[in-house]
Amino acid sequence: MVRYLLQRALLFFGTLLISSFIVFSALYLMPGDPIGNLTGGRSLPPEAMEALRQRYHLDEPFLQRYLSWLGGLFRGDLGRSVIFNQDVASMLADKLTITLQLVGYAAVILTLAGIALGVIAGLKRGVADSIIVAFTSFLAAVPPYMAALLLLSVFAVGLGWFPAIGAGDAGERLIHLTLPAIALAASSLAIVARVTRVSIRAEANREHVQTAVSRGLPETEVVFRHILRNALMPIVTVVGVATASLLAISAVVEQAFSLDGVGAMLVQAALARDIAVVQAIALLFVFAFVSVNTLVDVLYVFLDPRLRTTKELA
């Protein structure tokens, strides 16, 4: 078990390191002079240019620059936006809240609804199952931006039940984020439901379930303590992957609903070639993605006792 956890930790840091390297070097992949790229082609007074040069250590060798940048990250210095002339860190603060709320909301939806639908479809055959399968196939085919526009068109513009734009003030946050959260969760929900269904079905056919039934245990007990509990591993995996991807997809949904979140900021920065912002946010996304995945891997150990004594994950 220790070896397994160690492997996971190694993978975690390794991925982060390499990703940070890729993100950093991207700046230097750009054609043209780095300074020109940093300023986005704008011309600044010589003192500002000098300040930039110093700030980004452009007179120093590449590797050293990378290390300085990394060091800055650890100190909480995420760079400075040339466009807004602000520290990226402070710019992120508010937007991060909105994005995190959106992602959290969506994660809850996809987990609860996805698993619930999957369990129902997995245990019952016949009509309920067919309906759920058809529904999830449909959901899976609709990409988040389509779902967003569809929901927008029908429920916000058409029926007027939900607001169409913006994240709203604190009190109204939930209402404003509902449609975006659904749009974000939709296709992932479908996948979670599918995997849950298959996993539950496979587990329900296992012999140890028959043992539980043969002892006269009530159905709910059997479902929760034996079927669902044992089916958790693939379910947790897929929920983990889905949640991890949510952050990246959120950018699209934010665009559709005009939410002022991190994703929107990323896109604006990319279009404006505001490198520092892009680097910081890109790295943030990668960090979130890798963290969730690693968390899921760690969770495995608690879910399956067989992993605690075997040396490697099969």
């Binding site: 140890h208 002892r215 006269g216 245990l217 067989r306 004594t309």
Partner: protein, 337 residues
Amino acid sequence: MIMHSSTGAEPPAIQLENVAASVRVGDQWRAVLRDVSFVVAAGEALGIVGESGSGKSMTAKAIARLLPGRTRLTGTVRVGGLDVNTLSGRALRAHRSRVGFIFQDPKAHINPVRTIGDFMTESLVRTAGVRRREAMVRAARALGGVGVTSPERRLAQYPHELSGGLLQRVMIATVLLGEPEMILADEPTTALDVTTQSEVIAILDEMRRERNLALVFITHDLELASTVCDRTAVMYAGQIVETRASKDVHEGSRHPYTRALVGARPLLDHPQERLTVLPGRPIAPADAPAGCSFHTRCPYAKESCAEIEPELEEFDGGTVRCIRKHEIWSATTAVPR
């Protein structure tokens, strides 16, 4: 025709009358049991012997109502006088816990992600409302009763940490914890090695006698059944083809199939020149031919065997399903003509 093994005012522990079952496969119904009838009294042990696919496991499952989802059952299955198929809900669950079912492969039949202790006490804690600590104490005692050393340690372990033999003891102990009125053991020792096998059998036997339980012991091993059980029933293609007191099986069995089984496993003190070999392969109940299900492989088959379906009838101290039984076995000699 049903064979009565004991009379009394009390209903027998288990009573099956002309039980037939089919399972839905795709859009067809395939027979898995064709005609099964027997009676087991409390304290009695009946062995059911047959090859793979003969329907012996299905019989046990029918008694415990553990048949797969889409199954059609005809005939009656009575346990303690109650018609099992009329039960539902709480009554059904109560019935299931009254029947102690021991499965074949303990490694597959115990939930791998929960501890042994959890497995053993689950039924007590969740349905009987026993407090967890008390249940654990009982479980430890039960483990000791089946010969498991350091039971408290075992309770905290996971199934994958125990050997097959040990797990089967756990399974037996768990079944006994539920204070069942009868035990159905479905090939309990098939997945174990021979030494462990005899230990497990000994435990089962001891428990049965101690508590006066009815035991249905399912196996493919005729010798094993004869050793463990008072009576032996032989199944072929979903039907019982013979029942007889175990001590009479070796010399006194009268169905050609049973004779072939006996001949294939000669005893040390009854050497044979050649092992009996039956042509063909065992038939699934759904593929049984017209007439006698065994006639295609039977050395004594005549034309009429392909036309007439034999009934299970009393003969020579047991019951036999064969229309030629009188001809094959003259009443005076034990040797076939």
